[in-house]
Symmetry: D2
């Protein structure tokens, strides 16, 4: 259950404070030029300590590719990779080793497995999403060659929200601010809110939006491999995610069919749209679970991080009430660092669907 | 890709207007008493034509279990089952055989497979969800024996919404009104809205909420088999679903961690909560992807049905603009009939997780 | 665990004396012409009662395709199918309902599942291989279009053996004798031996050989999806199979490398062998787990059928010693009827590998 | 396709001359004491250079466990592991970089992937079986706790064969000779033959036998997860394996049913055999694909290694005939080093089946 995907797969290992985190990518098509600088740059986007609004934990997060690449190209063999954990202060966790932190996975893991890995969340730590970024970067290298590109961005922090429609923004400027928001003014507001929350020892949630451009018609497999179901499963597997919607999503539930239906028009670009275009794209680029050649867009809800730098009531492993008070490092808001993770999961999902779609007809 | 689940699996077949729809359930634990009346009653809850606010299509929807049951008990062998399609007026579809209906799967299926099954949506029809209800009923029979119960209900139709908190409702009265809503007054409003929409030849979306009670601690498998990711994938695979959220969901994205964290308290029921309880349940019964013994609750967004009884612009298979005008039968709102489908998918997901959890320790 | 394959999959259901046996084929490429007569003819090759050396059980074995085919072509949707059991004399089994037949699955099934389906072996009956023949026939229809053909034949019955090398026989004459052996003289000997064994109420084993011609280079996926490992798993899943070998197999274990290595020569047919040929084919058409464009050949060992028409000692479900004496119908030798099953499993395996190989490069 | 197993899984990576080989074990039950010395000792059994009859390649083969173990016990998280390649003389392979070695995977890999990793076989090298030994050692730690033990041994080298029946040997003395054969006299003969073959620059094949003791009744899942089919697939995935048989295997094909059937007797040990014993065990401990509580035994055929230290004819990547002459290191016979690999694959298969069997009944 630590494997994602069917033909392009990622299997991961590692804990927050173990020796290393890493994984194996299987099903990488052969002959793809592997740009290791690109992979490392993607990791830098996820790395802790990249700005004043992320955790102060410092990690080099230098990835080593161990196999599957020869003379700069993928060989079709599995790609093993590894990032050593360098900053693992297990001692920092002595104070919490016998207690269950509220809204963390301490209690559920302990009850499920009978083992308590108290070092920073162990396997449930968001640090292990690092492997997803590596695999996602590999998938992006393939997709780029196919003309498919993926843009995620922070669209909400607390109650500061962007307008919904991604068309109105220049998605190429996302990296120009630390919250990764395409609206420079909203970005400043969001940054200020996160700073304030951090100062209070508290945390805040938000929403990441994502757009996928350039998908051909035909990705996604009925009945249970619908493209949006695969995307949803991918996103919901990211730590702290509480919701997923695509197209008009929850808001569209209040609409009438006559408002939401997308009228087909004769094609204006027979390269990408062999027979027809849609006038509107309320469907979010997916109809009947299969991509229709339009932009795919969706939104992912993140809850506020559970680690607070303030007193909280909880219980010990023996079931006794206790007051805990955490000091140290924490992320007041995961959204900025989660943007590359959302992109990575989307890239893997799309590549997997693309490979499967090659087998629909001979 | 027509298989759901890992240990308890459902594989389905069938089209809206083919000979039959059905499936195979594999992994059914042996020795379970198979209550065929219960299975049939679940199908009746999904059946078309059950009230004035559903489609007029008439189907007996009589299920035949073909294997895997002997002398009234499951044997551990796969359970094959079948429902004959009796009301398949293929001729009804002559008028649409060469056109792509807006926001249907006609265009994507045709482009993906190179084949047009124009008979009522073919494989993309919601009729094939029937197989899920059968498999879900089998899963419910197992879960019931384990003390786990599942309650779905219509919580929104158009802009008529229930209060969010399921605690305030008596979920046992859902079947007393045709919309399957636990608030009798809101139910009347919803019913009136659906009637009006039907009269206009239009359709309307909504939201179904679901609560799962009695789950033990420990269901769900990190990293990619998180319980809510499995539930989300299950729900998003249902026709017309556009969004999934659990716990505080999208709304909780605007909260602070100090508001959303669930404080642990010493146990008040060591049977179901071996070590501790939560004071609040903003987490929705799942922490770190693993059930924590509290109620699991989530919400599923449905778009309005794409079939409208009014004129729409579209294109033909040759890419030419055309005006289409559909007459006949349609569901103005799928929510009432989708309630048992949501329950079925939840039941299968929980049973699958329960079986896997048996292998976490020896 | 009742599913075979990864992209082209068969999931089966049914028991010897239940209502029906059948299955679902998923991953059938779209656009293939479905020759239902061919499918039925393949079933006839497996049918009981086809000659004096098979069981006298009479079954029409008429298959009904329930979905996935429209206007004579596969649509890409799953193909559900069904064969009704017409000759199920459950009463015949009253005498054995409380005893474990020697070398049958009665005891293991009962201990595993806690349920005794005493009707003719239930799920463990060879009758359920019928579904494999249907799925294999579908796979053959695809392979034929790709220029791939499969020939199985009886090469040993008891101690009557053919020479090993398939080149020396005309494989097109297999259907001309009831044992399905390409050597007409040996066929007569085999038939006589089976008749004699039948007369004694005993049974006899044998070996089926199989050759696959026309495979392109590149089928099979390292490390665990090696083509011969997939073929082996497929064959070993057939009832009564006790061994599998390919190329020079067990006999080649005694050879030296200098005898067994296949020398490469410059290509003599650049269509099927892009770069080179082999001088000999001791490898059996597979090198490093991947097809090399040469004929693939392998052998499958079948034990004698466990049902004897003679007295045997055994125990009851309560563990008491008892003498059982079976009367009625039985197959003295499964080889003739198993030939189409071996072909079917080979066809499914090759098609699955062919589909996966489409995704090795983009 | 580089993943083995369903619940207890191994995913591998690495090439003969890349940076490292390793893998990820997922599904390890929590709470198992991890004896790292034992794992290392198993690797030493597979290590090159261990005696005068194996290759002279020297590798430390020191394994590093990177995750999934905390305070000496498995946590239920995936166990990532790594062995660095220290002795990778890529230059040694300059002479073969443009040619296809006979009966190696050079040609099939190149044609399949379009990439030539000429360094010692790359992904197709037997060096990658190292990961299987690590995973197998982990599985053995679990099985040992369940009272299940596995014994493989060399039973044939060239035409020097042991008697078939494992009962006649003391399997605890296998490690006392370099061929890992329980018959000390035959071991000396085998060793002499391998030495002679090595001296000639040639290679030789053989057979490994394996016995599994202590399995409970009920392992193996019909229809396609039969225990022997899983064992067969596991064994056939090992480099150089050409055949698999269990119970009486190919030889039993010549028998009559009345000879081969195993008579049931009232139990003589209700702990391991709840209801009955078998008088003989021709079935090889598996009936209907399910373990029956008796010893499981099977045989695995290995072809001679393809690397010869003598002149051979072959072709270049451009398809031109060439004479190749390899110097350096090679294994004249893989059998001695393959014994721990056979055990490892058996251990993983049995543990996987054991975990699945926990879900047959609730």
């Amino acid at each position: 259950m630590n494997t994602f995907g069917k033909l392009f797969t990622l299997t991961t290992f590692g804990e927050s404070h173990g020796a290393a985190v890493g994984g194996i990518v299987d099903g990488m098509p052969a002959g793809i030029t592997i740009d290791t600088d690109f992979i490392q740059r993607e990791l830098v986007r996820r790395r802790p300590g990249q700005s004043h609004i992320t955790t102060d934990r410092k990690e080099a997060d230098q990835v080593e590719l161990l196999s599957g690449v020869f003379e700069g190209k993928s060989t079709g063999a599995p790609i093993g990779f590894l990032v050593r954990n360098t900053n693992h202060h297990s001692k920092d966790y002595d104070s919490i080793r016998d207690i269950f932190r509220p809204s963390h996975a301490d209690y559920t893991y302990y009850t499920k497995y009978g083992i308590r890995d108290y070092r920073g969340g162990g396997r449930s730590s968001a640090r292990i999403t690092l492997s997803r970024v590596v695999a996602g970067a590999l998938a992006k290298l393939v997709l780029r060659q196919q003309g498919i590109s993926i843009y995620a961005y922070t669209s909400q922090v607390g109650d500061i929200k962007l307008e919904r429609d991604y068309h109105k923004y220049d998605l190429s400027i996302i990296e120009s601010n630390p919250v990764r928001c395409p609206d420079p003014l909203k970005a400043i507001e969001m940054e200020a809110l996160i700073s304030q929350v951090k100062h209070e020892g508290d945390t805040i949630g938000g929403v990441i939006s994502c757009v996928i451009k350039g998908c051909p018609v035909g990705l996604g497999e009925p009945e249970f491999g619908k493209l949006h179901a695969q995307l949803g499963a991918a996103m919901l597997s990211i730590n702290a995610v509480k919701g997923f919607e695509y197209g008009e999503g929850f808001a569209g539930s209040a609409w009438r069919g006559s408002q939401q239906n997308d009228t087909f028009l004769p094609t204006n670009d027979s390269m990408h749209h062999p027979i027809c275009n849609v006038e509107t794209n309320h469907s979010g680029g997916i109809q009947g679970g299969i991509s229709n050649g339009e932009d795919i867009y969706f939104r992912v809800a993140f809850k506020p991080v559970a680690t607070l730098l303030m007193e909280q009531q909880t219980v010990t492993m023996e079931g006794e009430a206790i007051t805990m008070d955490v000091h140290g490092r924490h992320d007041p808001c995961v959204l900025p660092r989660a943007v590359p993770i959302v992109e990575a999961m989307a890239a893997m999902t799309i590549l997997d669907a693309l490979l499967i779609s090659k087998t629909n007809r001979l």
